[in-house]
Amino acid sequence: MKTRVFQREGLQPLLEALAEQFDRIIGPTVRDGAIVLDEIASDADLPAGWTDDQQPGRYRVGWRDDEAVFGFAAGPHAWKRFLAPPDVRIWTVRRDAGRLQFEPGRTVPRRDAFVGVRPCDLAALDILDRVYLQGPYVDPGYQARRQAIGIVAVNCTAPGGTCFCASMGTGPRAGAGFDLALTELVGDGRHEFLAEAGSARGEGWLDKVPSREASADDRAAAARALEEAAGRMGRRLDAEGLGDLLYDHLDHEAWDDVAARCLTCGNCTLVCPTCFCTLVEDRSSLGGESAERWKRWDSCFSREHSYIHGGYLRASGRSRYRQWMTHKLAGWHDQFGTSGCVGCGRCITWCPVGIDITEEARRIRGAEGTPAAERIRS
């Protein structure tokens, strides 16, 4: 597969090449004080010169002192928003002369080009594939949407204060699962992208961009940038034997401690790129001529989620936090053969009270917590 280098100006022709093949281009853009994922019309919509500062329960956008286009970490939105959307109509049923007529929800998906997928998020897509496609049941909606996307990954050179992909082995360099993977090379008068094709169509897009052969120096510069990034992770998680450790400590007092802080608000699960829980809701028209079945994002932090006849399995906040964390870090291994956590740090940043999964895991391990000052940027 080709590896080439193009100038900053090459982004626009790349987006144009994507626009020829896809209905929409989704990428990072600045909105409401955050770098969100939304439709991109041109390279002017990308967050050039922007960055973010992320800490537990705190996120701020800011300016970089260069014009890097991808100089920020994972934002509030995960790509699951587009592949397993928050509200999906599964079917509609109508009464028609005494017969019931079923109509499936949207069957032809939009073709989306995802631009700026981080390595952690790429790993998350792989996990979602296992959940939705590789189990005993296939989710046809997810499958159709998934098959319709193209992926331009961007390796991570600006990890945030809550990132720990290096601990989870998912970043800062993308392994596989992309059509094209970019590494931004910026500084010393240079603003270029090293572009590695991962598929034939990725090579095709690259052909539309004025570029040159990648030299050994270019590759070395990219490798250096990524190595540096791996050393700048704001968080660390010792994943070794973590699953068993959690299973062995279901009665640890740390769960009481976190329960006292946890709001059971559900934010952590909804920002997580791999959390997939949904609820099913039926709607019927006033006159009873038609009904709809919807699938909506839910959370293991909502009480209703654990309702079975007779009561709630997880009535307390303690049992809900414990369920979430042990499922993420232990149960997923048993269920899907992988950790449910890719180390993106979203749940830490977007928890309104800054609960930190790496810190909670450390408590269970019994180690002393890292002093707060060191936690911010180690």
């Binding site: 006292a260 559900g266 909804l270 309104p352």
Partner: protein, 266 residues
């Protein structure tokens, strides 16, 4: 559906502003369907027609604030197969429950030229304090889509879907950026019952708590967060004492914050 007659709907008002009942009239696109599906037997805001009970469904707006209210709600309950409260007044006592924290007779004396004309109870209380309630629709005002969901669910004989989780879940579903995390704006969303669709955060405001407490509100933890954001205890108490001031978790948290605020006074 083999219905022989349309279910009879009645809409009643107690101490309230009428906003919730008006949500029914606000269902412009669906209003004809509503009128097609039910017989509006009593709804003075909408029609002069009034037929006697029993009613299949009574929607009750407003809180109980007078002795006459207590008698009236008992009669309505008897005449109604199902009784559903609509809005924060009927469900939690409303903004007028602020009187519950003070001596209402002082207010009466200060406001009315002839206080002796005023006959009122010491406290403004929710309907459920006096009679059994089948469902409660939260909000100030209620969300018209929840009202339609209630009506269509009851007509279809299914359980209505009213999630009791936080506003945060609605906020994230709609893709809004968290104002508390990204801007440091105090938000009541994490302890507030869903139902509005997270309107305020979507417009860069913190949640005001119109839908009252969510299923398992951790008011103490959110209070600490607000304190860290620079909101003094007295202001926290004020934020919790609005439309749902008398709802137990908000009331207890506001009392605690108010007490902490007093401690702090020099």
């Amino acid at each position: 559906m083999g219905r022989t007659r349309k279910p009879k709907l009645a809409v009643w008002k107690f101490a309230s502003c009428d906003g919730c009942q008006l949500s029914l009239l606000d269902c412009e696109d669906e209003l004809l369907d509503v009128v097609g599906a039910v017989e509006i037997a009593y709804f003075p805001e909408a029609t002069r027609v009034s037929s006697r009970g029993p009613y299949d469904l009574s929607l009750v707006e407003g809180s109980i604030t007078t002795l006459d209210d207590i008698r009236r709600i008992a009669t309505i309950r008897k005449a109604s197969k199902r009784l559903v409260t609509i809005g924060a007044c009927a469900t939690a006592g409303g903004i007028q429950a602020l009187r519950n924290f003070k001596d209402v007779h002082e207010f009466v004396a200060a406001v009315y030229a002839r206080p002796d004309y005023i006959d009122t109870l010491d406290r403004s209380l929710p309907i459920a304090h006096y009679v059994p309630v089948d469902f409660e629709l939260r909000g100030c005002p209620i969300n018209k889509y929840q009202l339609l969901e209630l009506l269509s669910a009851l007509l279809a004989g299914r359980r209505p879907s009213f999630p009791e989780h936080s506003v945060c879940i609605e906020c994230k579903r709609r893709g809004a950026v968290c104002v508390m995390v990204a801007q440091g704006t105090p938000c009541l969303g994490p302890i507030t019952h869903a139902g509005c669709g997270a309107i305020c955060p979507a417009f860069a405001r913190g949640c005001y708590g119109c839908y009252g407490p969510m299923e398992t509100p951790n008011t103490a933890s959110l209070g600490e967060r607000w304190t860290a954001l620079g909101v003094p205890p007295a202001a926290q108490a004020r934020a919790l004492r609005t439309f749902n001031a008398w709802a137990e978790p908000f009331r207890a948290a506001a009392d605690a914050a108010a007490a902490a605020g007093k401690d702090r006074q020099p």
